[in-house]
Amino acid sequence: MNYRTTQRIAFSFLFLANLLVIIPAVLIIVIIIKNGIGAISWEFLTSAPRMGMREGGIFPAIVGTLYLAVGSIVFAGPIGVLAAVYMNEYTKENWLARLIRLAIINLAGVPSVIYGLFGLALFVIFLRFGTSILAGTLTLGIMSLPLIITTTREALATVPQSFREVSLSLGASKWQTIRYVVLPNAIPGILTGNILEFARSAGETAPILFTVAAFYLPRLPKSVFDQAMALPYHLYVISTQVPNVKLEIRYGTALVLVSLVLSLNLVAIIVRSHFRRKKKW
């Protein structure tokens, strides 16, 4: 067979493989929009579920998800950024740096349900927070750390070394250099990473299963020690645990969750490209 023909056949197969990856992703979104859009109404978005979740809206689940995602980023964002500063600005390549890196790899690889177990054992039971927003938030936050640290570190590493040298040579202290030179220049990457992690937290189910999620709670949580409903868990419940929920409500819930997560991702992409265009070096 001609080499050119072989190449053409091979490339066609590669392209086909790619379509097999992309088409299902697009299809999932299309199916959800097509079947879910009919359920979306002001009432669906702003009222509590009724009749054993077979009627009404998903307002408490939306609010619960926002509480959890905001809480986890408030907890993990600053710690993650500082941890990245430590790794990028303070450590040299030694055993401690390697140990930290190993820990981060491990945290990133731990299955989400293990975080759920850990949150249950430490926050819910050992620290007596109970099944609560606080316990769920902390669990999600710890799970967010590896990604925040990794993305922040990448952002810090792109700030040219000469920037730091100039600042230090002008008499600025190490912290002043970080605060006024390194961090401002790394802000786009840091923001992108944090928004992406915020989106991921909003969509996670396994870590909140035993730490915060309420099966059915048609009112808003009053304090951080309350349970809360959450969109991903609610979708799981109405699609597997409660029989005879209208398809429209299931798809509508999926649509709200997907829209929330994807629009946050979009924001992250816009932030990234906006700053990239303004980049001066």
């Binding site: 992703a25 979104i29 500082l82 430590y86 303070y90 190993l102 820990a103 189910t205």
Partner: protein
């Protein structure tokens, strides 16, 4: 006045640097805590049951009298869906990565990469939901089965969830192969395709292996989607078109119904230890290959 401000800055700087160091070490603390709490709860089951009868026991009947905590069916269930998912996702994933990094025009490349990112961003519970609605009836009809909730259904779903990891990391590996390798192959008269499979892919093999390992890690740990579509029957699987139950699904499905401090509760943490160790090893191997590639 000036002096006072100066000292306050000094104090602030001292504090913030301590906070930075603490934050830097916190990952180690959390890994330690996770392991500690898993072991603390998970080892309690061995007061009543032996290690052998947990790991090799063929029966998982946590609420019968007496309860049986054999997790072999769960380990085999996880293994079956993981291996099948890997068989599906590795060829597709690597082929996609090659296409994106070597063949596609810049515009198509951008489009395909966003598609992969889109797949990565969809929450797992949503993928599980679509699995129930679309794939489960499809599998049931195609193979003429009593139920579409099977290991096969889970494997297909998991294969897609592993795809973004495999594609993006393999693509990085292929892109970072030095340009001169390809140029040398082309200069010797190789076609682009020959250069790809004889030179570029072998040169990127370490990174590709790492991408596969990370994909496998993702699959083993995946919980919600797999729980929703595999039927959750805790018996040793004999066929891929039967319901199975994975380690992760067992924890997620049963923890809500156990009594805290019961043997069942402890046994679920024991499953957690097994999972923790498996994913730890998988990620360690992946990291080893990633590092070998960089060198």
């Amino acid at each position: 006045m000036l002096k006072k401000k100066w000292t306050r800055n000094k104090i602030f700087e001292f504090l913030i640097e301590k906070a930075i160091i603490l934050s830097g070490l916190i990952s180690i603390v959390f890994v330690g805590l996770i392991f500690l709490f898993l072991v603390k709860e998970g080892f309690s089951v061995f007061k009543t049951t032996s290690l052998g009868s947990v790991l090799l026991g063929k029966e998982w009947y946590p609420i019968s009298e007496p309860p049986k905590f054999g997790i072999l069916p769960l380990i085999l269930g996880s293994l079956l869906v993981t291996l099948s998912a890997t068989v599906i996702s590795v060829p597709l994933g690597i082929a996609s990565a090659v296409y994106i990094s070597e063949v596609a025009s810049p515009k198509i490349k951008e489009f395909l990469k966003s598609g992969v990112e889109l797949l990565a961003a969809i929450p797992s519970v949503v993928i599980g939901f679509i699995g129930i609605m679309i794939l489960v009836p499809l599998v049931k009809k195609m193979f003429n089965l009593p139920t579409g909730l099977t290991a096969l259904t889970g494997s297909i779903i998991l294969a897609f969830m592993a795809m973004p990891t495999i594609v993006s990391i393999a693509e990085d590996a292929i892109t970072s192969v030095p340009k001169r390798y390809k140029e040398a192959a082309l200069a010797l008269g190789a076609t682009h395709w020959q250069a790809i499979y004889r030179v570029i892919v072998p040169a990127a093999s370490s990174g590709i292996v790492a991408s596969v390992m990370l994909g496998i890690g993702r699959v083993i740990g995946e919980t919600m989607a797999v729980m929703m579509v595999t039927g959750n029957a805790a018996r040793i699987p004999t066929s891929i078109v039967q319901p199975v139950r994975t380690l992760t699904a067992t924890i997620a499905a049963e923890m809500g119904e156990t009594v805290q401090g019961s043997d069942h509760y402890f046994a679920l943490f024991t499953i957690g230890i097994v999972l923790f160790i498996i994913t730890f090893i998988v990620n360690l191997v992946a990291d080893y290959f990633l590092h070998r590639e960089r060198r």
